[in-house]
C-alpha cells in the first residue's frame, strides 16, 4: 500500500515536470526543447524566443500550476468541512464576491465620464476587495452559527446576492464594459505577469501552508463535528481557519486569473480515486500535484486551436468526463 502510494507520487511529480516543460515548448511559436533548457539556464541565443519563454510562457506555466494546486486544495477543504462531495472553493461565494468587485469597477466606471478602466491592478484590486468582503461576512457568520450546513447556505446566499447585483449592473452598462467583464469571467492564465506573480505566489503558498497545518484536524472532521469536538479539536476555530485558507486560495486565484470552474470540485475526487484514502496527509499533496497537472493539460489544450480558448471553458469540457469516468469506475 505504502509503495503504491510512493510510486504514484513519483509518477505524478514526473508527469508535472514533463507537462511543465511541454507547456514552455509548445505554443503558436515552437521552441525546441534544448533551447528551452539553455534559455532557462540563462544562455539563450534568440532574443525573441527568450522574451516569449521568460516573460510569457514561464509565468503562464507557473500560474497554471499555482491555480490548479490552490483550487484543488481549497476544494478538498470545503468538501471535508461540509461533508459534501459537491462542495467547491467557490461555494462560500468568494468568486461571486470577486466578480461583483470587478463588475462594480468595470461597469460602474463606464457610466462615469472617466471611461472604461482596463488597468490590471484596478481589476485585481476590485476582485480582491469583493472576494474579501464576502469572505469577512462568511467568517463573521461562521462565528455565530453552530453547524456547517447553515454556513453553507449563508455563503450561497451571499453569492446569489452578489450575482444579482452584477446582473443589475450589466443591465445599465455599455457593451464595451460588458465585454471586458465577460472576458474577465472566462479566466486567463496569461494575465499574470512577473509583477503580479510577486503577490499571487506568496498568497497561494500561505493558503496551502495553512491547509497542511490543519491536516489532522481535517481528518478528525471527517467523523463529523461532534466526534471532532470529542477528540479535542476546537471546531469553531478550525472552521474559521479553513474558511480563511480557502479565501486566500480561491480569492487570490480568482483575483488574478478569474474564476476557473470545475478544478476545485473535480481534483479532490481524482486524488481520492487514485490514492484510495481519506487521509489529508496524503490527499493534500496529491491535490497539489493533480491540480497542477490538470491545469497544465488544460492550458496545453486551450492553445491547440489557432485562436486560444479560455481556460475556464477547457477545464470543464475536458475535466467533466474524467469525473463521470471515475464515478462509473467505482464499484
Amino acid at each position: 500500500m505504502a509503495t503504491r502510494r510512493s510510486l504514484l507520487f513519483v509518477l505524478l511529480a514526473v508527469l508535472l515536470a514533463v507537462l511543465f516543460w511541454a507547456d514552455l515548448a509548445l505554443g503558436s511559436v515552437h521552441i525546441p526543447l534544448g533551447e528551452v533548457v539553455s534559455t532557462l539556464a540563462g544562455q539563450g541565443t534568440d532574443a525573441v524566443h527568450e522574451e516569449i519563454l521568460l516573460n510569457l510562457r514561464l509565468p503562464r506555466a507557473i500560474t497554471a500550476v499555482l491555480t490548479g494546486a490552490a483550487l484543488a486544495v481549497a476544494g478538498l477543504m470545503m468538501q471535508t468541512l461540509f461533508a459534501n462531495p459537491l462542495a467547491d472553493p467557490y461555494i462560500l461565494g468568494v468568486s461571486s464576491g470577486g466578480s461583483l468587485g470587478v463588475a462594480v469597477v468595470v461597469m460602474a466606471a463606464s457610466l462615469l465620464p472617466i471611461g472604461t478602466i482596463t488597468n490590471g491592478w484596478a481589476l485585481i484590486g476590485a476582485a480582491t476587495a469583493g472576494a474579501l468582503a464576502v469572505l469577512l461576512l462568511v467568517i463573521g457568520v461562521s462565528l455565530r452559527v453552530r453547524n456547517a450546513v447553515s454556513l453553507l447556505i449563508v455563503g450561497m446566499m451571499f453569492g446569489m446576492i452578489a450575482g444579482s447585483v452584477v446582473n443589475v449592473l450589466q443591465n445599465f452598462s455599455n457593451p464595451d464594459a460588458i465585454k471586458l467583464f465577460v472576458m474577465w469571467t472566462f479566466g486567463s492564465l496569461g494575465a499574470v505577469t512577473w509583477e503580479y506573480m510577486r503577490v499571487l505566489a506568496p498568497v497561494v503558498a500561505a493558503g496551502i501552508g495553512l491547509a497542511f497545518v490543519l491536516q489532522k484536524k481535517l481528518d478528525c472532521l471527517l467523523l463529523g463535528e461532534h466526534y471532532a469536538r470529542s477528540l479535542g479539536v476546537a471546531v469553531e476555530r478550525t472552521r474559521v481557519l479553513i474558511v480563511l485558507a480557502t479565501g486566500l486560495l480561491a480569492g487570490g486565484v480568482t483575483a488574478f486569473v478569474g474564476p476557473v470552474a470545475f478544478v476545485g470540485i473535480a481534483v479532490p475526487h481524482i486524488a481520492r480515486g487514485l490514492f484510495r484514502t481519506a487521509s489529508h496527509r496524503v490527499l493534500l499533496p496529491a491535490c497539489v500535484l493533480c491540480g497542477g497537472v490538470l491545469l497544465l493539460v488544460c492550458d496545453l489544450v486551450s492553445q491547440l486551436p489557432a485562436h486560444t480558448l479560455p481556460v475556464n471553458t477547457v477545464s470543464a469540457l475536458f475535466g467533466a468526463p474524467v469525473i463521470i469516468w471515475i464515478i462509473l469506475k467505482r464499484k
Binding site: 489532522k216 461532534h226 466526534y227 477528540l231 479535542g232 484514502t277 481519506a278 487521509s279
Partner: protein
C-alpha cells in the same frame, strides 16, 4: 473511588426565555470497571445528561468531576484524554478502512504533524482485537454491516485510551442479535479494561442483564441509581414507566401489555406450556380465574377444552371463539 462524580448537578438549557432545568441536584458516581445503563422515558433528559457529562454542554449548576478535577474547567484537549464518546451520528467516510477510523481515536495523543508511533499502532490493533474485527481491519467502512460499524466506533473510543467511555444509544438501529452482542461486548470491556462505561438506551431488558448499575431518570424529575435487581424488586422501574397500556413485569424484566380482558376461563397445567398458553389467552382477551364455566386442562401433548382434545394453541383459540359464538 469513582472515576466520574457529579455534585449537585443541574442540567438543562439556557434559552432567551430563561433557564429550562431538565433535571436538578444529581449526585452520581461512575466507578472503574463498571458498566452503567442510563435509562428513562423520552424527555427525561438522557441526552442532555450525556452531553453534560461529556463536557459538550455546560451544567446549569453544580459540577462534574473527573479524577478530582472540574470537567468544565478543563481545556478540550484534556477532556479528550479523559472521556471518549460513541454517538448516534452516522459516520460516512469514503475510502476509509476500519483501521483508519480507529486510528483517528489516537488524535489526542499525537502531535499536529507527526504520524502514528509504534505505541499508537499497538493501541489501534488492540482496540480492533477487542471488538473482534481483526480480520476486517483493512476493509473499507462502507462494506461493513451496521453492527460491525458500531463496533468500529467502539474500537475508536477504546483507542482514545480514556478512563471513561460514554455511549449514546449504542444499540439503536441494530437488529436483535447485534443489540445483544453489543451489550455483551460492552459488559466484557468494562470488566477486562477497568474503564468506566456509561451507555444510554431504550433496551430495558438488555440493560438489566448487561449493566452493573442502572441510572433511572424519571420524566417528572428525579433519578434512582442502583444494582438493577434491587431496582426491579423495589418497584422503581414500575413507578417510572407507569402507563395504562403496559406495566413493568418484575417476573421477567420486560414490559407487558395491559389487554382488556372481558371473558373468563379456568385452567390447570404447568411449565412453559402453561406460561405461553396464558400469554395467548391474555392477548385473545381471556382472564384466567379459579372457577369459570369454560375449563382448559393442559396435558403433555395437547390442550383439553372441556372434553375436546386440541393439538395446538391456534386450535384452542379457534375452539374458544366458536364456543363464544
Amino acid at each position: 473511588m469513582s472515576t466520574l462524580s457529579t455534585y449537585g448537578l443541574s442540567i438543562g438549557y439556557q434559552t432567551r426565555q430563561g433557564r429550562r432545568v431538565v433535571q436538578a441536584d444529581l449526585n452520581l458516581q461512575l466507578r472503574p470497571g463498571e458498566l452503567a445503563g442510563l435509562i428513562g422515558p423520552n424527555g427525561s433528559g438522557k441526552s442532555t445528561l450525556m452531553r453534560t457529562l461529556a463536557g459538550l454542554q455546560p451544567p446549569l449548576a453544580g459540577r462534574v468531576e473527573v479524577a478530582g478535577r472540574n470537567l468544565h474547567d478543563l481545556p478540550q484537549r484534556e477532556v479528550a484524554r479523559l472521556i471518549a464518546l460513541v454517538l448516534t451520528d452516522r459516520v460516512e467516510v469514503d475510502n476509509a478502512t476500519v483501521r483508519d477510523i480507529v486510528t483517528l481515536g489516537r488524535y489526542p495523543h499525537t502531535r499536529w504533524w507527526g504520524g502514528t508511533s509504534e505505541a499508537d499502532r499497538q493501541a489501534v490493533d488492540e482496540a480492533i482485537d477487542r471488538v473482534h474485527l481483526a480480520d476486517k481491519s483493512d476493509r473499507p467502512l462502507d462494506e461493513l454491516s451496521d453492527g460491525e460499524r458500531q463496533r468500529v466506533l467502539i474500537a475508536r473510543a477504546l483507542a482514545q485510551d480514556t478512563p471513561i467511555i460514554l455511549l449514546d444509544e449504542p444499540t439503536a438501529h441494530l437488529d436483535l442479535p447485534n443489540r445483544v452482542e453489543t451489550m455483551l461486548l460492552l459488559h466484557r470491556l468494562a470488566q477486562q479494561t477497568h474503564k468506566a462505561i456509561l451507555l444510554s438506551t431504550h433496551e430495558l431488558d438488555l440493560a438489566l442483564q448487561a449493566a452493573d448499575r442502572m441510572w433511572l431518570l424519571s420524566a417528572d424529575g428525579g433519578m434512582t441509581c442502583g444494582v438493577p435487581e434491587d431496582m426491579v424488586l423495589d418497584g422503581s422501574f414500575g413507578r417510572v414507566f407507569a402507563s395504562p397500556n403496559y406495566f413493568f413485569n418484575p417476573a421477567n424484566g420486560n414490559f407487558s401489555m395491559n389487554y382488556s380482558l372481558h371473558r373468563r376461563v379456568s385452567m390447570e397445567g404447568e411449565g412453559s406450556r402453561l406460561y405461553w398458553t396464558l400469554r395467548a389467552l391474555a392477548r385473545a382477551g381471556y382472564e384466567v380465574v379459579t372457577h369459570a364455566d369454560t375449563h382448559i386442562r393442559l396435558t403433555a401433548t395437547a390442550w383439553l377444552l372441556d372434553d375436546r382434545e386440541l393439538p395446538t394453541v391456534e386450535a384452542l383459540l379457534e375452539a374458544l371463539g366458536e364456543a363464544d359464538g
